[in-house]
Symmetry: C2
DNA sequence: GTCTGATCTTGGTCAGACCAGTATGCTAAC
DNA sequence: GTTAGCATACTGGTCTGACCAAGATCAGAC
């Protein structure tokens, strides 16, 4: 890993970026701190302001700092949007990546649900229960149903009380909601999915309530597997009505 | 989701960024394509060159494009380094996040090993076997041992043939190697760890060879759990020599 | 003590310029 | 006809200095 520490060798953008990275990584610049002004930074490092802006902008898209108009540049707590942007772009150029990302999503959720079994508190249970109820209520609506589905799964991750898992999970939120929604659109056509959706989520919920990690993980995995199967069949045209319409 | 499509409303940086994002997401700009020159982009969008550079730089740190000196700006395939940067910064500012990241690592690897059981080919098996052998050979060396350990786990993820999982995993590489290394430093002091390290990894390897996802996952999880246990005890001072030195 | 307004500072942006190499094409030599 | 060679246009990389709008600050008026 080439985390150049020298603020000397590089020039221009690299110089400024390295300078700031150093302070950021060393901890001398912490979230909440305000950087010196762009002008000062420029003269300090012997570069022009546009260059300083490039570096600040770079840190901005990385979610490290926030440039506030007419206020200054402040260090922020890293947040999800970066990953969001990244995945958005990445997926646009590699559509085949979608299934791949889904695998990561499964990974995150299955780990999250295990942690949730240990760490979930009453509030988490209640959130899950509400989401579960919502799924039942909105079973016939594509949009609302998709949201409810997503909320349930998000509640699981939140209940893990793991910020990293939550971050990773929400970074895929865009895709997930899409996925959930399209799944819901199938519901109208295929009655058996209603049972699948409601029962599966209830079983998952119960496993968490029982604080049984193994069962929760297994149930969740099965849930995903069945979902995949539905989608697979939908593509082929086969479904409940196996012998009906082609 | 606020993926502003309008290249109209925003101004300055946002304008350029949105303009490029639109093409990138729509697919009219594909990896390998060369963008028009900064100057042209500037006049085209009615902004100054420094602003264009900010936008290009932003896309650069997101790993979307690459600015080649005196050549031009070309669209690249999104790659890992972005997430790497992000996690590096994120973790630097939240040391307490380390355990949390380990959870994500467990998540990724357990999912990866499941996929690996399905998708691994001969080359993957061989890589795993080599890594396994290396672990045995370097069992008494802290540095090399840590590397071997890391290599083995990385081989698992690679064998999953999931780019997303690989990306996420390597983005935590920095922390992981650290973790592996410090674990290895304990080996010298506590003989029972040698057996643990060698046998565990062998069992994991065998499960993958057997293409048994459930067993592989379970074994890997157990491996992590035991590792945690060792670390936990190390902190307390308790170990093999329970009744020996305090 | 409080309110108000001038001033300083900050980010946001622009215009034009220079440098150093790359790419290209045209010319001149073979 | 082909090719070597060089001038030129073009590219990114950077700097200088300037202007704007609006938040922050502090002096002075009330």
């Amino acid at each position: 890993m080439e985390l150049k520490r020298t603020t000397e060798g590089e020039k221009g953008f690299e110089k400024v970026f390295a300078f700031l990275r150093e302070r950021l990584l060393a901890g001398s610049l912490k979230p909440g701190d305000r950087l010196i002004s762009e002008r000062e930074l420029a003269t300090l490092l012997g570069v022009s302001r546009p260059i300083v802006r490039e570096a600040l902008r770079a840190l901005t898209v990385l979610g490290i700092v926030e440039i506030r108009d007419r206020i200054g540049t402040v260090v922020t707590r890293p947040d999800v949007s970066v990953l969001n942007d990244f995945f958005t772009f990445a997926l646009a150029q590699q559509a085949d990546m979608l299934d791949d990302v889904m695998q990561a999503r499964v990974a995150i959720e299955c780990q999250a649900i295990r942690l949730a079994c240990e760490r979930a508190n009453i509030a988490d249970f209640e959130r899950l229960q509400r989401a579960l109820a919502k799924i039942g209520e909105t079973i016939d609506e594509a949009d609302a149903g998709g949201m409810a589905d997503f909320e349930f799964h998000r509640a699981i991750v939140v209940a893990s009380h793991s910020e990293t898992l939550t971050v990773l999970h929400s970074s895929m939120a865009g895709l997930l909601t899409h996925s959930h929604r399209s799944r819901r659109e199938l519901v109208q056509a295929f009655p058996s999915m209603k049972t699948y959706l409601i029962d599966d989520h209830r079983r998952i919920f119960e496993a968490v309530i029982a604080r049984d990690p193994e069962r929760a993980d297994a149930t969740l995995r099965k849930h995903f597997a069945i979902g995949d199967e539905y989608r697979r069949r939908a593509v082929v045209g086969d479904i409940d009505k196996t012998s009906a319409s082609g």
